[in-house]
Each structure stands twice: as structure tokens, then as C-alpha cells.
Assembly symmetry: C2
């Protein structure tokens, strides 16, 4: 009896010391809902409030996972699910239209602990692409699956397919028509390129993502998008490209990007920020700022990132007018921002 | 008349000084035809000789471009075309079979001078995928195009489509049947993963690539592949992923990779080698060795890379039994190798 009591006492002591240690551990997350030309004048106060409320809902959902001791991976997918299920952001329900008036979505996720990763591109019938990216990571021997093949894999995993029209919204349809009208005016290849450049800021407020640090010290990143308005030719942007739109390595940093995807691929934005942290011992604040506000600006690439490190430091730089974003650290309230300082 | 003679003399002097300067400039290239379990015992002397002759033909074709003052980009595509047109290597003509008994090819190219890039994935009807990747880079606003969309783009560029059966070869078909038999024996998910791991070394001797430095000091990299034998679900490997299979940045390095693509994506192999050169001032020999022979081995990823820097230094590390490869520097003969030291 004594032995049992002692064992119980020891196990309780161990339990509370683990529990105490976990409570001491920093945890935090950041989310984004896209960067671009976000004009304050285009919102009514009610609309702005609705966007902020949805960002808060997403960051709080991820926070609750972390607070309960859940993994950074689950915090990332939980927060992204909220954004995918909202029509406000270009991912899931709010996905923009392709040239052919369909919706093609991309997503990726990376686990900084195992450095495993999963990505899907060009899927048309998946309600929450980030969850399928996680299944690719956890349940397949591959990292990146495309289109119909990715959906075949989804079926093997019991993920139901949904009609492409599930993602129809009036606002995005009007956006496509305006984009087509603008592109139709282009008479030469140079005009087309110029019109396309304009589109990128106007119609590509366009990715959602999350990065998180959990109590176990593991960091993760995930990104989900409806791609680029009026896109053609099975274009793949940076969101499903590991190292471009998403990257995570424990002890280094986790990054989710949003912006003009072609530049983010060429400059390996997520990977380059982590490389600066790892090989130059830069803080994530400095590393992310150098890539977004120096290198990308010189190159002409617009967008932003959210980044987190193993201490829970968070960076959210962007070189556009605004970036929908929210952060929350253990014991603190959520911070929700759209423009530079508010 | 005198003026004309003088002008002629001056222009000749300028011409020869430029020509002399260019002749002084280092230029070089390296190519690979895949890394994996390449058993010496599986070749007759004649077969080995034929492989070596094809590798020499490819590296010499790229060398001739560079010698004449052509760009590193053209040297890369010219060398890769020779390998794509040969049934010996898993790219173009020699592409392996997917699970559905088709051929799906991927390729990417990157220009270290402009840091522009182009990639195609999952194309079925393109004779030389590397040339289409270059058209994506030069003529589209995108970096990465998939499947049917990429082929639609090809048609807009006047690239003819060819029948998928163009890529049929008896040897690859038998490889698929053996792979299917092996996978069919797998009874559990763990068995399947184990069988798949075995396949990777046995059936994925599978990518071709080139890196080059031209007389103008520009470096480039390109990679082309038929993917993984028996692949399913629209799997995308590292070859079309900028930063994984291909990367180039002037003054830093140019890399083309070959190996178990999933690991090369997760560890951003091409980009990480360049990051070590750029941020840690490591030589490409050391940087490439650390990634291939330390980091990847720890992770369990098999394969190799070819890398070149702006001085014409070349690294060709691999952690497999062999890697088909050849190098040639200005004024030197081609070096052709398959195994560790020969």
C-alpha cells in the first residue's frame, strides 16, 4: 500500500513538473490572409470589422490547440481551416476563378520537427486543401501531388470530393470579369505583361497561412490558396512549393508566404529566410525583413510572410499596402492587423 | 580611304582584344544522367562503352556552345537535349512508365544572371521538356506549369505535341512490370513503404541535368526527368521544383540534382548548397559534400548533384553506388565517369 502511495506521489510529482514545465514553455502562432493592395477606403466599417473578427477567430482557434498542448501542425491546420471556410480570403470557399471560370487550389504544410512535408496543387474538389496536404505528408510516400491524382489519393483516404461550384462567390466572379476585361485591352505581349503585373497586386490578395510554435518546442508552417485570378495553363504558384511558400525547420524558423508567387519561387523566399537565420545567425525579424523589404523589392516582387522561431519570436513583414494578419502568444490577447501599424 | 582603314584597324584591334579577353575567361560545364544503384556487373563492356559515349557526346555538345561564346543557358539545354533523345537515361525518350503505363515528364531551368526560371511538370506529349521549361521562362509570365495546361502553352509557342507512345521502350516497360510485382507483394502500409524505398534505388536511376559557366561569367542549371517508375497520383518530384532539383544564382552557384525527389524537396537540396556558398562562404565542393554526404545521408535520402561556380569549379558528389556524369573545362578534354573514381 505504501509502495503504491509512494509510486502515486512520485508519478503525481512527475506529472505536475511536466505540466509545470509545459506551462512555462513559450507557445505562439501567427496567421495571414494575404498581402496586396488593400485599400482602407474600399471597406465599410462593418466590413473591416468582419475581416478582423474572422482573423481573430482563426488565430484564437489555433491558440486553443496550442494552449491545450496540441501540436503546432494541428494549430496550423485548425487556424487555416477557419480561413479556408470563409469567403473573405483567397483559399477554400473564397478561392478566385481561373481563366476557365473554375477554382484550382494549392496548399502545403511542413513539420519542422521531422522536416516532413506535404503539398497538393491544382485540386478542384477538396473543401480544405491544407488537410489534404497534411494527409500527403502523413500517409503517402510522396511530398507533392497534382490535380486529379491528388484527388484520387484523397478518395483513398476517405476525403469526400465536393463540387467545384461549392467555391463560387459573386465577388470573385466579378473580379474575374474585371481581370479579363483588363487583359483583353492588352494588344502586345508587352502590354499583356504590364496588365498582368497590375493584376497581381489588384487581384492576388491571395493566400492564407499559419506558423506555430507548440509547447513541445516544435514549429510548423502551412499555406493554402485559390491561386491567381484568371490564371491559365495549369500555373503552379509558390503556395505548394516547399522552400518558396512554406518552410519549417526546428531550431531555425517556420515561414508561410503570400504574394506574387513567381518571385517567391525564384527567390526561394521561405527557404532563404530560414537560411539567413541558420547560416548567418540573423534574427527572424532581420532575416525576413532583408528578404521581403530588400531583396524582393529590388527584384520587383510584391508580398509578405509570417515567420516564427523556436522562442516564439514572430516577424510579419510585407512590402505591399497591407497584409491581413494576426498573432497570439501564450498568456496574451490576439493582435489583429491589416495595414502597416493597425 | 585612310579613315576607313584606320577604323577597320581599330575595330579589328577591339575585336581581337574582346576575343582574347573572352578566350581568357574560364568556361565549363558538367552533366549528369542520374544517380543510383548502378552495378558494374549489369553492363557488358559494349553497353558501358555506349553509355560513356553518350555522356561524352552530351558534354561535348554543351562545350561547343560555350566555346563559340554561346550562353550557359543554351549549353545546358543543348547538353540535356542529347540525353533526352537517348533511351539510356530517364528523361525524354528513355522516360520510365507511370503506374498507368504512360510517361509523365518534368523539367526546369534557371538563369543565374536574371534569376528567372521556368518549369513544367506532368507533361506527356513534349519531346524535349527542357526546351519547354525554357519557353516558360522566356515567354510566359509564370514559372511553373502543369500537364495539359503546360501543353496548351506549348502549342501557343509552336511546339508540336508528340504521341505518348513515342517514349515507349521495352527496357522501361519491363522495369515497370518488375516494380509492380514487387509492390504487389507488399501486404501492409509498412511493407509498401519498405518496397517503395527499395524501388527508389533500383528504378529511379532517374534524371538528367546540366550546369554551365559561359565566357560572359553567367551560370545556369537545368534538370529533366521521366519521374519515378510506377508513380501514381500526379506525383511531382524535385526536378521541376526550383530550389530542390535546380537552382542558379550568378556569383554563387548553379546546381542540378538527381535522386529520391521527396528528400530533395524537403531539404531544398539545390538551394541549400547555394545558401552555404553564399552565407557561409563555403566552396561548392564543401557545400555540396555537406548536403549530399552528411545531411541527406542522415535523413536517408539517396542521390547526387552536379554544381558549378563562377570560376568554373565543379563538384559532383553522390551518396549512391554510381552517378552517370561528365565534365569539361575550357581547353581540356571531357572527363566521363560512372562510379566513384572511374
Amino acid at each position: 500500500m505504501k509502495t503504491i502511495t509512494l509510486a502515486f506521489a512520485i508519478s503525481m510529482t512527475l506529472f505536475s513538473s511536466i505540466s509545470f514545465a509545459n506551462n512555462d514553455k513559450p507557445f505562439a502562432l501567427a496567421i495571414h490572409g494575404g498581402a496586396g493592395t488593400i485599400k482602407k477606403s474600399s471597406f465599410t466599417p462593418e466590413q473591416e470589422q468582419a475581416y478582423r473578427a474572422k482573423l481573430k477567430e482563426a488565430v484564437d482557434a489555433g491558440y486553443t490547440v496550442l494552449e491545450k498542448g496540441g501540436s503546432s501542425l494541428t494549430a496550423v491546420t485548425t487556424a487555416i481551416n477557419v480561413l479556408e471556410d470563409s469567403p473573405y480570403f483567397n483559399a477554400g470557399k473564397g478561392a478566385v476563378y481561373t481563366h476557365n471560370e473554375e477554382h484550382e487550389m494549392d496548399a502545403s504544410i511542413m513539420d519542422g520537427n521531422t522536416m516532413n512535408a506535404g503539398a497538393v496543387a491544382g485540386v478542384k474538389h477538396i473543401k480544405n486543401p491544407i488537410d489534404l496536404a497534411r494527409l500527403v505528408m502523413d500517409e503517402s510516400v510522396h511530398v507533392m501531388l497534382y490535380g486529379q491524382g491528388a484527388e484520387e489519393f484523397a478518395l483513398t483516404q476517405g476525403v469526400p470530393l465536393v463540387a467545384n461550384e461549392t467555391f463560387n462567390t459573386q465577388k470573385r466572379y466579378e473580379g474575374l470579369q474585371r481581370a479579363k476585361a483588363k487583359m483583353a485591352e492588352a494588344k502586345s505581349s508587352a502590354d499583356y505583361q504590364a496588365a498582368h503585373q497590375q493584376l497581381d497586386t489588384e487581384y492576388k490578395v491571395g493566400t492564407v497561412g499559419a506558423v506555430a510554435l507548440d509547447k513541445q518546442g516544435n514549429i510548423s508552417a502551412g499555406t493554402s490558396t485559390g491561386g491567381m485570378t484568371n490564371k491559365r495553363y495549369g500555373r503552379i504558384g509558390d503556395a505548394p512549393v516547399i522552400g518558396a511558400g512554406t518552410y519549417a525547420e526546428n531550431g531555425v524558423c517556420a515561414v508561410s508566404a503570400t504574394g506574387h508567387g513567381e518571385y517567391f519561387i525564384r527567390y526561394q523566399v521561405a527557404g532563404d529566410i530560414c537560411a539567413k537565420v541558420k547560416y548567418q545567425q540573423k534574427s527572424i525579424i532581420q532575416a525576413a525583413d532583408e528578404v521581403i523589404n530588400q531583396r524582393l523589392i529590388t527584384a520587383g516582387g510584391t508580398g509578405g510572410v509570417i515567420a516564427i522561431d523556436h522562442r516564439g519570436n514572430i516577424a510579419t513583414p510585407f512590402n505591399t499596402e497591407g497584409m491581413y494578419r494576426a498573432t497570439r502568444k501564450n498568456g496574451e490577447e490576439a493582435q489583429v492587423m491589416i495595414w502597416r501599424d493597425k
